[in-house]
């Protein structure tokens, strides 16, 4: 059970934070289809930071968390900068946001693979030394518990063998959700996604607010990308995040562009992803019987499930879903 919860969390966290990234962009009125590409850039720059810091030899394993934080910061910065390409096209040049986002999705893997190939002569960039579990994972002994201490299901999930990114992302999620709903800035941002003409007439600079929305979105997607690379890919980057950026978009739509619903949706999708990835090692009630493996269903069916469920769920909920009214519509001051 602890294992199941932990695995689910590992897949939930990137979905959660990237879905919030989507919310920030779309609530400000810009469709951010580039989430996948931004995640790829974030993962690459994060891993590259770890690689370079290790290569320079300044940090040792004891300061692993510091290295991780620096990498996370670099990933966020890269995501924000990369998303400026989208903002510039979508806001200043009034470009087709779907095509602009697609362009970034094509650009990100091409750029990362181009540089990774030049750096390492192969298609994947890993850590310079060690593996992510030994460098970055926090175990219960690090927190002062005895090696044999029983922590229960929840304690075992949250206090043993976890990555600090999990908590950083959860805190970010809560804080940013509050900012979006309880502050003047958040209200203005949402107004620009609903009725930018009215917002403009009240003295809000729609362009600035949309830039803010997309940039925050980019930073969050960058963080999500590195969190994904760190926890599921053993801190390596290969120009691919397995469709998580797109899944996060589906999570956001399923969550109706609201933070609380989106969090629940992310958990549901994380669970599906977890089943797909680890079905053969899941021991639900701890009696040594791996039920899902015993049934003998082809693993490809499990891998397909999250996407099938997404489609089915969307088919049943889409009539009720309410997207921000002005999303995807370039703001033109002369239409006020």
């Amino acid at each position: 059970m602890t294992f199941l919860l932990q695995q689910t969390l590992i897949y939930t966290i990137p979905l959660l934070i990237v879905a919030l990234a989507g919310i920030f962009a779309e609530r400000s009125g810009v469709i951010n289809l580039a989430l996948e590409g931004i995640m790829i850039m974030g993962a690459f720059v994060g891993v590259l930071t770890v690689y370079l810091l290790q290569e320079a030899g300044i940090f040792t394993k004891d300061s692993g968390q510091l290295v991780m934080l620096l990498a996370l910061g670099a990933a966020a910065l890269m995501g924000a900068v990369f998303s400026l390409l989208l903002s510039f096209a979508a806001i200043n040049l009034r470009a087709d946001q779907t095509i602009g986002g697609t362009a970034l999705n094509l650009l990100a893997p091409a750029l990362t693979l181009f540089f990774i190939n030049i750096l390492t002569s192969q298609n994947v960039l890993g850590m310079f030394t060690g593996d992510s579990a030994s460098w970055f994972m926090i175990k219960k002994t690090d927190l002062g518990f005895e090696r044999g201490a029983e922590l229960g299901v929840l304690g075992g999930t949250f206090l043993d063998k976890f990555y600090l990114t999990t908590y950083i992302c959860i805190v970010l999620y809560v804080v940013l959700s509050i900012i979006l709903y309880k502050t003047k800035f958040g209200l203005r941002l949402r107004a620009c996604g609903e009725n930018p003409q009215a917002a403009d007439s009240l003295g809000i600079n729609v362009y600035v607010m949309r830039y803010a929305g997309v940039t925050i979105s980019g930073a969050l997607a960058g963080i999500g990308g590195f969190a994904f690379a760190l926890t599921t890919a053993n801190c390596s980057a290969n120009g691919d995040v397995a469709g998580f950026g797109f899944l996060a978009l589906a999570v956001m739509i399923f969550g109706n562009w609201k933070p609380l619903n989106t969090a629940l949706a992310a958990f549901l999708f994380g669970f599906c992803k977890c089943i797909a990835a680890a079905y053969s090692t899941i021991d639900i009630n701890g009696d040594g019987v791996y039920l899902l493996r015993e049934i003998g269903i082809n693993p490809n069916i499990y891998r397909m499930l999250p996407f099938v469920i997404t489609l089915v769920v969307l088919a049943f909920t889409s009539k009720k879903s309410r997207a921000p009214k002005a999303e995807g519509v370039p703001y033109d001051k002369s239409t006020r």
Binding site: A110, L113, N117, L311
Partner: protein
């Protein structure tokens, strides 16, 4: 009353110009990147950088390195033949995206439709014994099976869009990944895997194993040592067929009307839901046909474990269609251009310290630029106006626009 306007003011000319401009900026961007890497890296000399740039532009005519180790250029029939061969799937996925775009739908589902087409055509081509059925019939059946599978896979997002109002981009992305897993699953349980040859683990038997292969029609004599075959001619014929369908038939008119304004089309008595599904089905069948024409060539081997990644050729249909401004005839040329870039990338990888991903970067830059092609066109026309020093009168401009709408 139709008035001839100066060349630069014409809509078509502007479209072509803005596409060429996008291509040039993309190529320059890629070259600058190559030079930056060359000058900042210790392992690559500045000369290597210049060689890289020359291959970005002239890779098609590269004939390797001569005895002195310098890059040699000349007529390279292998490259040209392979360019035409690799253009086939790009042409078809480009058509796929273009048809959907005309109906106002963004078909990002071409990779999935392509995969389903691959599965259906390979299964048919390898399962019907050619000792019983003539091989050209098997070939035709396989092509049709590929188109049908692609059409079904395209119709799913179309149906969800029409009836449940799900964004087709999202639905297409989901069907892509479902197809990637489904195709892996279907081939995994099939007996079409190539177990006979050593080192071929994970590949499906080439269709030549069953005596099915696209006719060469002497093209291989013209361009020796290349993979070229009649598939490119079939693809061009299909493109012309789509041009006729979209521009000369009632169905094409209805599809385009839905793309211009779905509500107005419905008001005019056009069944918009049916047309959305139909448009996506046609788009899907194009991608499926592209897969069939590629894999039926006889000696191409499909790596069936596709669940981790989607075929890039599906996504590259997007730049092909965008550069051609969704014109089925234009797609023929832009697909061959994209394929040319692909050849340049291969040469870059083989002959220099750079790798083939630079071409993907160039393609991405081109897509980025074409997302604001409207701005580029506006800029072009403002320049055109300055040159002719007399702004086109408003009625003429309006007449030109409707002329375009009516199907130019």
């Amino acid at each position: 009353m139709k008035q001839k306007s100066p060349l630069l003011q014409r809509e078509g000319a502007k479209t072509v110009l803005s596409s060429i401009l996008s291509i040039l900026i993309g190529l320059v961007f890629g070259s600058i990147l190559v030079l930056i890497v060359a000058f900042s890296s210790e392992s690559i000399s500045p000369k290597g950088g210049l060689e890289g740039v020359s291959l970005v532009f002239l890779g098609l005519f590269s004939t390797g390195r001569d005895a002195a180790g310098e890059l040699a250029f000349g007529f390279n029939p292998t490259s040209i033949g392979n360019m035409l061969f690799r253009a086939i799937p790009l042409l078809m996925t480009g058509l796929s995206v273009a048809v959907a775009n005309k109906t106002g739908l963004f078909n990002i589902g071409a990779p999935g439709q392509y995969l389903m087409g691959t599965w259906a055509s390979l299964t048919v081509a390898l399962s019907i014994p050619t000792s019983v059925v003539p091989s050209w019939i098997v070939w035709t059946l396989a092509l049709l099976a590929g188109m049908l599978a692609g059409a079904i896979w395209g119709a799913i997002p179309g149906f969800l869009k029409a009836t449940r109002n799900i964004n087709e981009v999202l639905a297409c992305i989901m069907t892509n990944w479902i197809a990637a897993n489904l195709v892996t699953f279907l081939f995994d349980i099939s007996d079409l895997k190539n177990g006979a040859e050593a080192g071929k683990v994970g590949y499906i038997k080439p269709t030549a194993a069953n005596g099915v292969a696209t006719a060469k029609l002497g093209l291989d004599k013209l361009l020796p040592q290349s993979q070229v075959n009649a598939g490119i001619l079939v693809a061009i014929l299909i493109a012309i067929g789509i041009y006729i369908l979209m521009n000369k038939t009632t169905l094409g008119y209805e599809l385009k009307a839905c793309g211009s304004n779905r509500h107005a089309a419905r008001y005019a008595g056009i069944n918009d839901k049916r047309n959305i599904v139909l448009s996506m089905a046609i788009a899907g069948s194009m991608a499926g046909a592209g897969a069939a024409l590629y894999w039926l060539s006889g000696n191409t081997e499909f790596f069936w474990s596709t669940y981790q990644s989607l075929p890039a050729v599906g996504f590259n249909g997007i730049p092909v269609a965008l550069l051609a401004a969704n014109s089925p005839i234009g797609v023929i040329f832009t697909a061959i251009f994209m394929s040319l870039l692909n050849i340049c990338g291969t040469q870059l990888k083989n002959l220099t310290a750079f790798n083939e991903y630079i071409t993907d970067i160039i393609i991405a830059a081109i897509v980025y630029l074409s997302s604001f092609s409207l701005i580029i066109k506006m800029w072009l026309s403002s320049r055109g106006k300055k040159k002719t020093a007399e702004p086109a009168p408003a009625p003429a401009a309006a007449g030109e626009k409707t002329g375009k709408e009516n199907g130019k």
